[in-house]
Symmetry: C2
Subunit: 381 residues, 2 copies
């Protein structure tokens, strides 16, 4: 099923309002694609255009209120939102700011605190000068942080959200299984990238916002570069890492292939990666922390090798390619049923790196792989 | 050719520094994908991950300085940038902020003004709380706006940039020409969307960040919705609007097709759209303003019909799908050679809308279409 029942948005809103009440917030003010969509279901690729700001107000009670450019009114009108206020954007003098200030004045108490997400992994998608202008228009009302409310809500997924992420994972799994059709010695990496995106679409992706990877002798130098025109050759390790989207939700996992036979040290480093992700998987239950998942992997990885510069060994995913939490030693977030995580160990081998990534769901009991779990033997192309 | 010569980045930097000097800025601080790439050539899809902030400092003299997560060091090292400072991100306590503050202290005078883009179409891609923390660490140095410097620079494209946009336009033109292979009565719109993205990739797109459109009887209700599963049927007008990317630069134009014969009023409204974009094209020369382009189109459109809720009739494009300026009555920006614009008239017909879009380059003389200019007769499928 595409979209969500209105009850899903009502439950998200109610939960937010409980947390807002506990934090003493009169409203949340949201500006990013994911945050607006989380409470409305408003799904469009139009956010690719940076021109227009979009605002959603979550008052202390009642449904969210949309303050948006008129070009979005028809689509927003198809969601569960009733109160949609629009202006003709872009407006170089006043791009929705006074309309937003009026709505906030109407929907909050006179000395109310208005929470905007301000912590790690957030940003405000509106001009800095307009934030200042808004502050000026709000009088005694103050803009504060959101007390981590959005993080706390979005980090634990509903069953309906998990189903969408699983669909994205299945599509990517089928596309990865077909990589032998498009990759092999002599094929330029940029052609592999292009063809792999076509496979993702053919297998059912709505769009493919993210594809990275690499292919060099015995590994790769980094995992975020665009594709080079260099043809694959024997001894290369090809890695493709995709975040494709189905109904607004991402998968995020990778696969590695050896072009021809792999060197023994590469084979063994690769097996070590799978061993590391399995070690984290084994302990990924409610009560464990993401720091413990990091250490479970890092212990395996550093037995007789070095790590990479990635900065972490996995993360949350969902409406964004990457989300809270981070699998790093300092993140003590406790696992909860409904969290969706990537396990993404990396290892150095012969001056190059290898990275392996799977997606899992935390449940009441043992976790569950939602990417097709891979074995310790690297596939040869 | 992919990428740019280092001289291109040196010229952009020099021009920025001249404008900074005139505005009394000691540095620019940039945080978004496009702004960082504009001065570095740093091209990666990794920005899709919202987790990590990235910083680029443009000092009053000398090359830009990158303050970035370590995961990006290898790729940034391939650009013309020499001074690359990294931290292991994500860091929940200090995600690059103190490293950034130290760099700014080193690179600017003690009471220097540091400009961040703060105007229309901009945002700061870093947490609001970190901006406040940075202000606190900067002592007598102040963060101000960028005085529109980034807008002024990016709005006028170099020959090398225009060549990339033209390549993107050519790819989209070939993909649009093949739409009859994938669309027709009985085909669900979502399948057309999927197949069209595959055509874009097959014709040479690096990726397809944007596709919107619609298909309803005699027009469509909006132009930003994702695809529905409804099959195309006789009397529908199918519109596809794509922003595909080649080497980091966008095209942005659309095409319309009638499924079977079009109604006379639809045919005539469509011809009016083409007439409107031609009217703007005719006067699109240095010295004219974008407001005049708006009025040239609007006069044709409102002769005996109504407009749409789009809010404007075209815009700039380049590294972003949409950029400054906006074709609206209040934007008095004068055209300059090197500007790349979309002409995007919309019209209401029988309760639906039709939108037509072409891409043009402003030159010293007459403008030039870089999307394959369409005729006034709607193509039937």
């Amino acid at each position: 099923m595409r979209g969500f029942e209105p009850s899903e948005f009502a439950a998200r809103t109610k939960r937010a309002q409980e947390l807002m009440d506990a934090a003493g917030l009169s409203a949340l003010l949201l500006t990013t694609e994911t945050d607006v969509r989380y409470f409305t279901g408003y799904l469009t690729r139009f956010w690719e255009s940076p021109t227009r700001p979009w605002f959603l107000i979550l008052p202390a009670t009642g449904k969210p209120v949309a303050v948006i450019p008129s070009i979005g009114a028809a689509l927003m009108g198809q969601t569960w939102i009733d109160d949609i206020r629009t202006w003709s954007a872009p407006d170089l003098q006043d791009d929705g700011v006074s309309l937003l200030a009026e709505a906030l004045a109407e929907l909050t108490v006179a000395d109310g605190k208005i929470g905007m997400p301000d912590g790690h992994e957030t940003h405000a998608r509106m001009p800095l000068a307009d934030i200042e202008r808004l502050r000026g228009l709000l009088g005694a009302r103050r803009i504060t942080g959101d007390h981590g409310i959005i993080r706390r809500l979005r980090m634990v997924k509903s069953a309906a959200e998990i189903a969408k992420i699983e669909t994205a994972c299945s599509i990517a799994g089928r596309a990865f299984a077909r990589v032998p059709e498009v990759a092999g010695a002599g094929v330029p990496l940029e052609k592999v990238f292009r063809k792999f995106q076509m496979l993702c679409l053919e297998e059912g992706a709505d769009w493919v916002p993210y594809l990275a990877g690499g292919a060099e002798q015995g590994g790769y130098s980094d995992v975020i570069s665009p594709a080079s025109p260099v043809p694959l050759q024997a001894g290369d390790v090809l890695m493709l890492d995709t975040g494709l989207v189905w109904d607004g939700y991402f998968c995020d996992f990778d696969r590695n292939w050896s072009i021809g036979p792999a060197r023994p040290d590469v084979k063994s480093a690769y097996a070590r990666l799978v061993e590391a992700s399995d070690a984290a998987f084994e302990i990924a239950r409610p009560g464990a922390t993401v720091a413990e998942l990091f250490h479970a992997m890092n212990t395996v990885l550093t037995k007789d090798a070095e790590g990479t510069d990635a900065g972490r060994l996995g993360h949350g995913l969902g409406m964004s390619l990457t989300e809270w939490p981070s699998l790093i030693p300092s993140d003590e977030t406790a696992l909860e049923p409904g969290m969706v995580l990537t396990l993404e160990p990396g290892i150095a081998v012969g001056g190059k790196i290898l990275v392996h990534e799977e997606n899992i769901v935390i449940t009441d009991g043992p976790p569950r792989f939602i990417s097709p779990r891979i074995g310790p033997q690297m596939v040869e192309l």
